[in-house]
């Protein structure tokens, strides 16, 4: 190394004083705020938002299906048919008493003649007198939540003591509901998998595009003697941050939207339309698991950007060598 103070070169090579920038000692090795970097953040944000919305939809469908299934499974029916030689009112009263005696049953509500007439009104018209028709009477049995009632015992005592009564635990409906719920969740998971695959592909290509503009940086680092792991590590950290930034924007927007939709659905749950919507879809809530799944999507997409950048750096270095 030559002497650092050489009068000849200080006089020969000095240029006029023209300071054009501020002192900077630690500019990141990978350029920040490039156009391609901002475009990548935008792509990640949009795709994370779409993937998060799909996650929310899947969780909402799962909740709604579980609610339908639970509602159907919680209620059962005892049907008391008119039978010659037996008083139907006595049979109904006996069946109610038997049902109330089974532990785990929270409520037993016999439907009155008026209730039955109201149920049949759409089919048989108004002003119907059930005394003239052999119409069975219904008793609605409601299970206590979380309790396991001995329904087999109820079925046995009804058969022995009220031969005109039959017990329907809606098993057929529950099975159908379960199958439908499984189908709905499976369809949701398939859609989510497709959206996630599209997201990963889009983010991968956007990352490669952003990396292409950084090839000169990789080459210079390589030529000044940086180890491959040093170069790849810097790019990986930079792109992990870009991925997290875009993911936080997209996933954060989805989380805020879920929260707003939850509030709105609770506000409107008292209205007529709100009741129908809530009967179909339940209250809008993706639950803690849904929010955690969105966070997992954000982290996954950030990791994809980081991994893609590392892979691209390694391929570039191999091409240089």
């Amino acid at each position: 190394m030559p002497p650092m103070t050489d009068d000849r070169y200080e006089t020969d090579l000095s240029t006029p004083s023209r300071r054009s920038g501020e002192p900077r000692f630690d500019t990141p090795i990978v350029p920040r705020n490039s156009i391609s970097g901002r475009a990548l953040v935008a792509v990640v944000a949009i795709m994370t938002f779409l993937a998060s919305m799909t996650v929310g939809a899947v969780f909402q469908v799962r909740h709604a299906a579980a609610d339908w299934q639970s509602d159907v499974a919680k209620e059962m029916t005892i049907q008391v048919k008119p039978m010659s030689g037996r008083n139907i009112d006595d049979d109904v009263a006996r069946a109610v008493a038997l049902a109330k005696g089974i532990p785990g049953i929270a409520g037993v509500k016999p439907m009155s003649k008026a209730d039955s007439a109201k149920l049949l009104e759409p089919f048989l018209g108004a002003g119907l007198s059930l005394d003239e028709l052999p119409v069975p009477r219904m008793i609605v049995v409601t299970l206590a939540s979380g309790a396991i009632a001995d329904l087999a015992q109820l079925r046995r005592v009804l058969a022995s003591e009220v031969p005109s009564a039959s017990f329907d635990d809606h098993r057929g409906w529950v099975e159908r509901m379960r199958a439908m719920a499984l189908s709905a969740v499976f369809a949701g998971v398939v859609v989510f998998a497709l959206v996630l695959a599209a997201t990963i592909l889009s983010v991968t290509f956007a990352t490669r595009g952003a990396m292409a503009t950084n090839r000169p940086v990789i080459e210079v680092l390589h030529f000044v003697g940086a180890r491959n792991a040093f170069i790849a590590g810097h790019f990986q950290r930079h792109f992990l941050l870009l991925g997290l930034q875009g993911g936080a924007v997209g996933g954060g927007a989805a989380i805020v939207l879920f929260a707003i939709l939850g509030l709105v659905s609770r506000w409107f749950s008292g209205s007529v339309g709100g009741q129908e919507t809530s009967a179909l879809f339940g209250t809008f809530s993706v639950g803690l698991a849904g929010y955690l799944a969105v966070v997992a999507v954000i982290v996954l997409i950030a990791l994809v950007t980081a991994f893609t950048s590392r892979h691209t750096v390694n391929r570039t270095l191999e091409a240089i060598d």
């Binding site: 103070t5 940086a226 060598d321």
Partner: protein
């Protein structure tokens, strides 16, 4: 320091662009590498800089057979060689100071441990007043000097320069040549690839002349 024995190089299945090169570069030596366009000067510089591997023959650098080294060992060896590119290859988002300090930074040194060293070198090459400027606002000569400073900041044992005067006027070319001579006097071996006959005539040094892929040496 560097020894080539019967080295040949071809790209893919093409013809050999370099044939049977055998020569040495000794410590503290100064040589020009010249020849017509397409003779293989840049390819030879790439071999010297470990950026290419020969198709055949043996290259020994600093006592190591480069064919047997892994990537990390090649990176370590590359730090002992400084290179000045014809197109400078400065990073536009970094100041002149940061560009020059880059080889020390990638070695893992802390900024405060090399700050004085970098500022001293920038003053020496006449860029003391431009150290906070970004490369896009530097003139061609300033970029060239920044590229030279970056090549020598880590005190390489061998300095390679590809057409260092190709983008500057003759008077600046002379000044840059004096800079290389000073670096050589301080112990660095220098190889300057150039077309510039006038530049070579200014300094009596060994000439490596490439012609049709073969090397002719004029000591």
């Amino acid at each position: 320091m560097v020894r080539f024995e019967n080295v040949g190089l071809r790209y893919g299945l093409g013809p050999e662009v370099l044939r049977d090169l055998s020569f040495r570069i000794d410590p503290h030596s100064f040589q020009f590498l010249t020849g017509p366009s397409g003779a293989g000067k840049t390819s030879l510089l790439k071999l010297l800089f470990l950026s290419l591997k020969p198709t055949r023959g043996l290259i020994t650098q600093f006592g190591h057979d480069v064919a047997t080294l892994n990537k990390d060992a090649l990176s370590a060896l590359r730090r002992r060689v400084g290179i000045v590119f014809q197109d400078f290859r400065l990073l536009d988002h970094m100041t002149t100071y940061e560009n020059v300090a880059l080889p020390l930074r990638v070695m893992g040194r802390q900024e405060d441990s090399y700050r004085d060293e970098v500022i001293e070198l920038l003053n020496w090459v006449g860029l003391g007043e431009r150290m906070w400027a970004l490369p896009p606002v530097l003139s061609g000569g300033e970029k060239q000097r920044a590229a030279i400073a970056r090549a020598v900041i880590a005190r390489p044992q061998l300095l390679l320069a590809d057409e260092p005067t190709g983008n500057v006027d003759p008077s600046l070319g002379q000044r840059l040549l004096r800079l290389f001579i000073e670096l050589n006097k301080s112990g660095t071996s220098v190889v300057i690839a150039t077309h510039d006959i006038a530049l070579m005539d200014q300094y009596d040094a060994r000439r490596l002349v490439l012609h049709d892929g073969r090397l002719h040496i004029y000591d």
